[in-house]
């Protein structure tokens, strides 16, 4: 009763305030007299059927958990609400469950079925959170359920759920390490995921579960590198750290030959990463010489060439130095430090110095790493010396670290500035910092010989400082310095001997005593006196001082026994009864050793040698030396001790492991959601090596390529031969092969299409042919030219086909080569009838054409093949296709570049040519004898009265690199006749004119052919995704963007496409290829037109996109590696679109 009334009060109170009062718990507990009662009350609220009450109860319970109060006895009441409809209640119940399930395993099992149901929910957030909670409940019994859920979620449609699955992997692993093998399978699967969302989480899981399975990374290495920039920042950190380790096992040390490149400073890193103390230079000279000779010996090994994958990693991580997240910057910095060639490491300095502006904790970590780096790569931070200057407001730990860096950076040139800066620091009120500064001065003095005396003098001055700590620290440092050259500094030793009266700091007193003992022959008069004083105060000294007094006494006894014999005895007697056993032992030992007695053995003879041996000077070195064997940026590096789970950074391998393991197979089975990116993957591969390799025929066609093209050409040739008989039948076979290929693997299908369309390219010939041959005598001239061209065609065709294949296979970059296949292929092509019989124009044909054109590019119609077909028919075909293209945006309208668009240029005017007029046009057909040449069709018309004989060309004057393939000599050209020939010119991707002489039997004419830039390229097929990807790689200087306004006539899609393809020999990139994408995109109201091609000679990609906007506004973008071509192309297309 009391409980329920209290609950009513509570409810009233909370609804008044709006926000429940849980925040003020336990003060609000005033209403409740005890814990027991309060919990009763909560239980009641949880049992009610009002969501608002439940919510409030849960909030109060969670607040208890947050404050660290125990709420475990509410478990049964809470777990009942796991299926509550209210999402917030549900979430809070989840929170509770995860917190207490481990303690109450049996009860927790009650909730499992809810999560299992949740795993099937259509809402991805609910699926994900069910998996999240299920995997967070640390109850061993449900391991199999978790395993199942993870496996299922790993192939979920939603990348968010897959990400959650990746998160669940380490959870399950920590719960039951037995599951490792199964989990590795899931990791392997998720590693292949293409989404940036998953990448970071799965690498995280990889690092926790199986960091040793570096082999799982091979296939995903390039993908990870390429995705990196788009991964969220936390994922970036994990991936970069993992890739650093990966690279250390797979690539060669880029600095292996660095001593060859750099004289002087370079040797160190070469000789193992650990010992390069490049600061002491005095005694190093000889060693350096030695190293140099050694280095030259080793240099004779083969020169180092960086693996392209290694380069890829460095290139793709570099922009992340600009990240706002300090952890990302640090991760990239350590990657560069561990992996980059020495010359490139410098880029990280700037970014690290930037982090020094950040929070003091960030500074602390960064400075630790900079301290380590600055030992090995001092030059890198030297320009930023002043950024490490210390402000009086810095926390002490930061000051000390900055000091460390400054000391590491000190060299002959900057030491004076640094020492001046140190002088300011010595006056600081922060005594720990002053002590550190004095240490730093000491280190500078040992490292840089030139300033040793200056430093020593400065330190001696500090001996008169009023602060004892300063003096003590100075003494200690001076002691170390003096040890290096004691002879010259007896006055300093004397000075220090006097200090024993004043200095009370034990360490300093001990140091002075040691010094005097060690160099007692330099101060023969003072030393015994010091011993006398010390003997007096012996009992009151600290232990370390006592030990040094004994030492001093012993040494003096050995050198000057006359004066000090009694004193020594006295001291030893005192020590004999000391409380400290160390001191007693020492005294006993020394007495036996130095005081000759009858029993004393042989040792006492060597006492002098034992005590007064020359002791090596201490090396003052940085505490950060050698820390770089820990991966920088890691916790282990910071602590200078191996932390749990730290993965050792392996040393570079002696010889590089096989790099081909990273090659990704084309025909890898791809999970369905990533299907759209299978092409991208191929692209990635291509991007690494030259896109179109220049050398031909070095690799044969792939299996897949071959079989595909086989069927294609087979059916094609079949259709060709049968065509004359019945068109319809061959059409069918064509269709069949087409549809079959569509169901095939994508690549295959694509290739096949390429092949088909290659052959197809010849079909629409008549349209284009009829055009240039002007006037009425079309048919006549056609008849005449037919046999000749036909025959030349047949042989070139064969060439052409095999060639096209080999180039295609190069694109695939397949390793396997099958000679036989090639041969067989050649045979099939050879057996093909040389020229295609004419096609009958019927409905079916039209349909077939459109089918073939589907998703295809088509090189511009070739005029060189002559088929009698009348003009009317072909033009009607064109209009039909136009209609199709407008309704169906998948159909590429490039297939119907009207032949009229092939512009003809005049080479020789009728009058200057004495009746012979010559025109030329760019046929846009691949020039078969040499694919690097642009085909130029030349048409001779003899309008003179007499026949022209022996038309040929000679004496070509070409720019360097340009080549011409001459046309075959025309023996006779009767008056009034016209003849066409094709020649090839390799313009070397420039618009320089090709000059040559055109000769008849009587005369020579100087002519020149100058190509418009748009003719220097040939179309290639690309999907939208490929296009975007390539475009992404051709940014910056390679991208030219221009805004324009399309004139009214030109606003239609078709018009734009037509004008662009007229201006340049490019092919349209099919847009909105929906069937490939998992998320269909609705066609945008203002489409983007994309065109792709490559330059004929070098095969550089040329990508053109026209973005249309409202009111005819448009933006033209050209991406081309060759900037000149890009610029000219923009001009030309702009003109074409705006005129």
């Amino acid at each position: 009763m009391s409980a329920s009334s209290a609950f009513n009060d509570e409810k009233g109170g909370s609804s008044n305030v709006g926000e429940p009062e849980y925040g003020h718990d336990p003060a609000s507990g005033g209403i409740f007299s005890s814990d027991y009662k309060r919990h009763d009350d909560l239980k009641e609220m949880l049992d009610s059927n009002k969501d608002s009450l439940k919510l409030e109860a849960m909030k109060r319970i969670v607040a208890m958990i947050a404050r660290g109060k125990n709420a475990s006895d509410l478990f049964p009441a809470v777990v009942k609400n796991v299926a509550c409809k209210n999402i917030e209640v549900k979430k809070l119940v989840y929170v509770y469950l995860v917190r207490y399930a481990e303690e109450q395993q049996d009860l927790a099992l009650l909730s499992i079925s809810t999560f299992q149901r949740g795993l099937k929910d259509p809402n991805q957030l609910i699926r994900a959170s069910a998996l999240r909670v299920l995997s967070s409940i640390r109850v061993t019994i449900i391991v199999p359920i978790m395993m199942l859920a993870i496996k299922e979620a790993a192939s979920d449609m939603s990348p968010y759920v897959r990400k959650t699955a990746a998160h669940a992997i380490p959870k399950l692993y920590s719960l039951d390490p037995e599951q490792k093998d199964c989990l590795i399978e899931v990791i392997e699967k998720l590693l292949a995921d293409k989404t940036t969302l998953v990448a970071g989480s799965v690498v995280m899981a990889f690092e926790e579960v199986c960091p040793e399975r570096i082999d799982l990374i091979h296939k995903n290495y390039r993908k990870l590198c390429n995705l990196l920039i788009d991964v969220e920042e936390w994922g970036q950190v994990v991936i970069i750290n993992m890739l650093t380790r990966y690279a250390r096992t797979q690539f060669l040390n880029p600095n292996m030959n660095e001593s060859l490149l750099e004289e002087g400073g370079g040797e160190k890193a070469f000789y193992g990463s650990d010992n390069d103390d490049d600061t002491d230079d005095e005694e190093d000279k000889e060693e350096k010489e030695k190293k140099k000779t050694e280095a030259t010996a080793i240099v004779k090994r083969k020169p180092y060439v960086m693996d392209p994958d290694h380069r890829l990693l460095l290139r793709n991580t570099k922009p992340l130095l600009q990240s706002r997240n300090a952890a990302v910057v640090m991760a990239v910095a350590q990657l560069y430090f561990h992996l980059a060639p020495k010359a490139e490491v410098g880029v990280i300095a700037k970014a690290l110095v930037r982090l020094m502006r950040s929070h003091s904790e960030v500074q602390y970590v960064v400075l630790q790493n900079v301290a380590t780096m600055s030992i090995k790569r001092r030059g890198m931070f030297e320009p930023y010396l002043k950024s490490f200057y210390i402000r009086s407001t810095d926390p002490t730990q930061i000051k000390v670290l900055k000091l460390e860096v400054l000391t590491n950076l000190a060299n002959e040139t900057n030491i004076s500035t640094i020492l001046r800066e140190f002088q300011t620091y010595i006056k600081s009120n922060d005594k720990d910092f002053v002590a550190a500064t004095i240490q730093a001065i000491g280190r500078c003095a040992t490292n840089i010989g030139e300033v040793r005396d200056t430093c020593l003098n400065g330190l001696v001055q500090l001996l008169s400082n009023r602060d004892e700590l300063v003096v003590a620290e100075s003494v200690v440092v001076i002691k170390k310095l003096l040890q290096m050259q004691p002879e010259q500094h007896s006055d300093i030793i004397k000075h220090m001997a006097k200090l024993t009266d004043n200095i009370q700091v034990p360490m300093a007193r001990a140091s002075i005593l040691w010094l005097i003992g060690e160099y007692c022959e330099h101060v023969p008069k003072i030393a015994p006196d010091v011993l006398r004083k010390m003997a007096k105060t012996f009992t009151n000294e600290e232990d370390i001082v006592k030990l040094q007094i004994i030492n001093l006494a012993a040494k003096l006894y050995l050198t000057n026994s006359k004066q000090t014999k009694l004193l020594t005895q006295y001291v030893l007697n005192l020590a004999k009864y000391d409380q400290n056993y160390d001191i007693r032992d020492r005294a006993r030992f020394i007495r036996q050793l130095i005081v000759p007695t009858d029993k004393s053995g042989a040792l006492s003879k060597y006492a002098k040698k034992l005590f007064l041996a020359l002791k090596p000077a201490p090396v003052l070195e940085s505490p950060f030396k050698d820390r770089d064997h820990f991966q920088l940026g890691s916790l282990s590096h910071l602590l200078n001790a191996k932390a749990g789970g730290y993965q050792v950074l392996p040393d570079w391998p002696e010889a590089a492991p096989d790099p081909s393991v990273r090659n990704v197979e084309v025909k890898e089975s791809v999970p369905e959601w990533t299907k759209c990116s299978s092409r991208e993957k191929r692209k990635e591969k291509k991007a690494d090596k030259p896109f179109y390799s220049d050398s031909e025929g070095e690799s044969g066609p792939t299996e897949s390529a071959d079989s595909a093209s086989d069927t294609a050409s087979g059916s094609e040739s079949g259709s060709g031969s049968e065509e004359s008989g019945s068109g319809s039948e061959s059409e069918e076979s064509n269709e069949e092969s087409e549809s079959a290929s569509e169901e095939d693997e994508e690549e295959e299908g694509k290739k096949k299409k390429k092949n088909v369309e290659k052959i197809k390219a010849r079909k629409p010939v008549p349209e284009s042919e009829s055009e240039p041959s002007s006037g009425e005598d079309v048919k006549k001239s056609e008849k005449k030219s037919k046999p000749r061209i036909g025959s030349s065609e047949s042989e070139s065709e064969e060439d052409d086909d095999s060639e096209s294949e080999s180039s295609e296979s190069e694109e695939e970059e397949s390793e396997e080569e099958s000679e036989e296949e090639t041969k067989k292929k050649k045979k099939t092509t050879a057996s093909k009838p040389p020229s295609k019989p004419p096609k009958k124009e019927n409905k079916k044909e039209k349909k077939e054409m459109s089918l073939l054109d589907f998703d295809d590019f088509d090189p511009a119609p070739s005029p060189s093949q002559v088929t009698p077909l009348n003009n009317f028919l072909s033009s009607s075909l064109v209009t039909d296709l136009e209609g199709l293209s407008l309704t169906d945006n998948v159909l590429s309208p490039t297939t119907i570049v009207p032949s009229g668009n092939l512009k003809t240029y005049e080479l020789l005017h009728r009058i200057t040519g004495e009746g012979l007029s010559v025109e030329y046009c760019f046929s846009r057909q691949p020039f078969s004898p040499d694919p690097h040449m642009v085909a130029v069709k030349i048409q001779f018309t003899n309008s003179a009265t007499s026949e022209a004989k022996s038309l040929h060309m000679e004496d070509a004057k070409l720019q360097s690199g340009m080549r011409i393939k001459e046309f075959p000599e025309i023996e006779v050209l009767p008056a009034g006749e016209t003849v066409s020939v094709v020649m090839g010119i390799d313009f070397c991707d420039s618009t320089q004119a090709a000059n040559f002489q055109l000769c008849t039997h009587t005369r020579k004419f100087f002519v020149s052919i100058q190509p418009p830039v748009g003719e220097l390229m040939m179309p290639i097929f690309m999907t939208e995704n490929e296009f975007k990807k390539e475009q992404g790689q051709l940014m910056g200087m390679n991208e030219i963007t221009e805004k324009l306004t399309l004139e009214e006539k030109c606003q239609g899609e078709h018009a734009v496409v037509q004008r662009v393809t007229t201006a340049a020999n490019l092919s349209r990139v099919p847009c909105g290829s929906d069937k490939e994408c998992s998320h269909p995109v609705p066609p945008p109201p203002f489409p983007i037109h994309r065109f792709a091609g490559k330059t004929v000679t070098s095969g550089s990609l040329v990508l053109v996109s026209v973005v249309t906007k409202e009111d005819g506004a448009a933006q033209l973008t050209v991406n081309c590696e060759k900037m000149v071509i890009g610029t000219m192309l923009v001009k030309d297309i702009l003109q074409a679109l705006t005129q």
Binding site: G18, E19, G23, V62, A63, A66, R67, G68, I87, L92, V95, R99, Q124, L125, R132, S158, Y160, T164, H167, A168, P170, D230, P319, Q322, S323, R324, N325, A326, A327, K350, A351, V353, R354, R357, H359, E361, Y364, V365, V366, Y389, R391, S392, T393, P395, Q397, T424, K427, S428, N429, G633, S634, L635, S636, L638, A641, A643, G644, Y646, G1036, E1039
Partner: protein, 418 residues
């Protein structure tokens, strides 16, 4: 990765704990509290502490310690950066980050922490994603929630989680579309006794407040981008375009964010806007000293210097001070020995001066070091590096946004050694 988080107030009380893996007893904090006792200032507590079974990584921010417990190897900066992100998130949600605020919104903070990490690995740290999952409290919303029973917790996956631009949510609508950019530059400098510059650099930051509908694609260009020595960007900025064309092209997050930070290093480029003439001296005999400080404008590009403030940490042995200021007022806290002279606007005609005597504790020796002066100042409408925004273009949306750019120069870590 991150096992647990404890929030600890300056007096050492643990007022919130959150565990992402199995529970770690709060007694682990004792190691930290021990270290905290040892340290003179809260800033001096080492950020990383090694205990027998755990590693403690902590930050000190807004007078609170955020202490995380780590069990295995993890990049320390990863944790530190995340902890700062937590502090920023609290600030972002509740307007400030303090003990009271966290205690008042205990459950919401707890829910947020739950969303931010999964199994110790960051899951959602973008403020816009978080805000869609757990809506920040407003008075109106809390009233509506109590009446209707709706909650602050979203039930669909935030669009940002899935998109390639997680920093922006979809379907943003504003009636007034506006984009403001503040170019704030801070001068970090160390001047020596004679007034010569030992070290100076400019740290700049472009803060943006963008309230634009839809998915605007902005391009911000500078008149003189070559000035910038080193930059870091919000993830929305396209690196490549900056590399190639030195323009900032980005789809902005909704609301306030830091677009970029930059660094101008060339020392000769750094104009020092004020000079300080000072003499602080202590007499060898007698327990007395004098202080005389004058501040005047130096290179101000014709703008007025405002908000000038001089802060001095006087030596511990000072007993009392007796000063007079010709302009502004000074405060002195005898406990912390902190002297603050708030000058205000700098008038070139009549230079402000603070002088008077300092008395030392009887018998205390003369302090060795003179305290350094920390200067604070502000100049409106001026970026001291000379950086200027050229233009802001918007693509992707049709409306005309209202645009504005503001420049401010401040003193950063500006120290005068004496």
């Amino acid at each position: 990765m991150i096992n647990s988080l404890f929030l600890i107030n300056p007096s050492g009380e643990i007022f919130l704990e959150k565990h992402w893996k199995s529970v770690v007893s709060r007694s682990v904090c004792d190691y930290f509290l021990e270290a905290k006792e040892k340290a003179l200032e809260p800033e001096d507590v080492p950020p990383v502490i090694h205990t027998p079974h755990h590693y403690l990584i902590s930050i000190y921010r807004d007078k609170l310690f955020f202490l995380s417990v780590i069990q295995t190897e993890v990049p320390p900066l990863f944790v530190i950066e995340f902890l700062h992100r937590v502090a920023e998130m609290i600030q972002d949600y509740f307007g400030e980050c303090s003990e009271t605020v966290v205690k008042d919104h205990m459950v919401m903070v707890y829910e947020l922490l739950e969303e931010m990490l999964d199994n110790g690995f960051p899951l959602a740290t973008e403020s816009n994603v978080l805000k869609e999952m757990i809506r920040p409290p407003t008075i109106l919303r809390s009233v509506v929630n109590t009446l209707t029973g709706t909650s602050n917790v979203g039930d669909t996956l935030p669009t940002g989680q899935l998109s390639t631009i997680p920093w922006r949510r979809a379907g943003v609508r504003y009636t007034n579309n506006e984009a403001y950019f503040d170019v704030v530059e801070e001068i970090d400098a160390i001047l020596d006794q004679s007034g010569t510059t030992v070290f100076a650099e400019i740290q700049g930051v472009v803060e943006a407040c963008v309230k634009l509908s839809g998915m605007p694609d902005l391009t911000l260009s500078f008149m003189n981008p070559r000035l910038l020595d080193d930059v870091s960007f919000h993830p929305c900025v396209r690196y490549k375009l900056w590399e190639s064309e030195r323009v900032l092209s980005f789809i902005p997050p909704d609301g306030n964010f830091t677009l970029m930070t930059y660094h101008v290093n060339a020392q000769n480029l750094v104009a020092i806007p004020v000079y300080v003439k000072q003499s602080i001296s202590f007499f060898e005999c007698g327990s007395d000293g004098r202080l005389d400080v004058t501040v005047g404008p130096k290179q101000t590009m014709g703008k007025t210097v405002e908000g000038v403030m001089v802060t001095v940490h006087l030596p511990k042995t000072i007993l009392s001070i007796n000063l007079t200021a010709t302009q502004g007022s000074y405060t002195y806290d005898n406990g912390t020995k902190l002297l603050v002279w708030d000058i205000g606007k700098l008038n070139p005609q009549k230079l402000p001066n603070l002088r008077g005597s300092l008395s030392l504790q009887a018998g205390a020796p003369k302090p060795e070091e003179n305290p350094s002066l920390n200067i604070d100042l502000k100049i409106q409408q001026l970026a001291i590096s000379g950086l200027k925004v050229n233009r802001l273009d918007m693509f992707g949306e049709k409306y005309k946004p209202f645009k504005g750019v503001k420049y401010i120069t401040k003193a950063g870590k500006f120290q005068v050694r004496t």
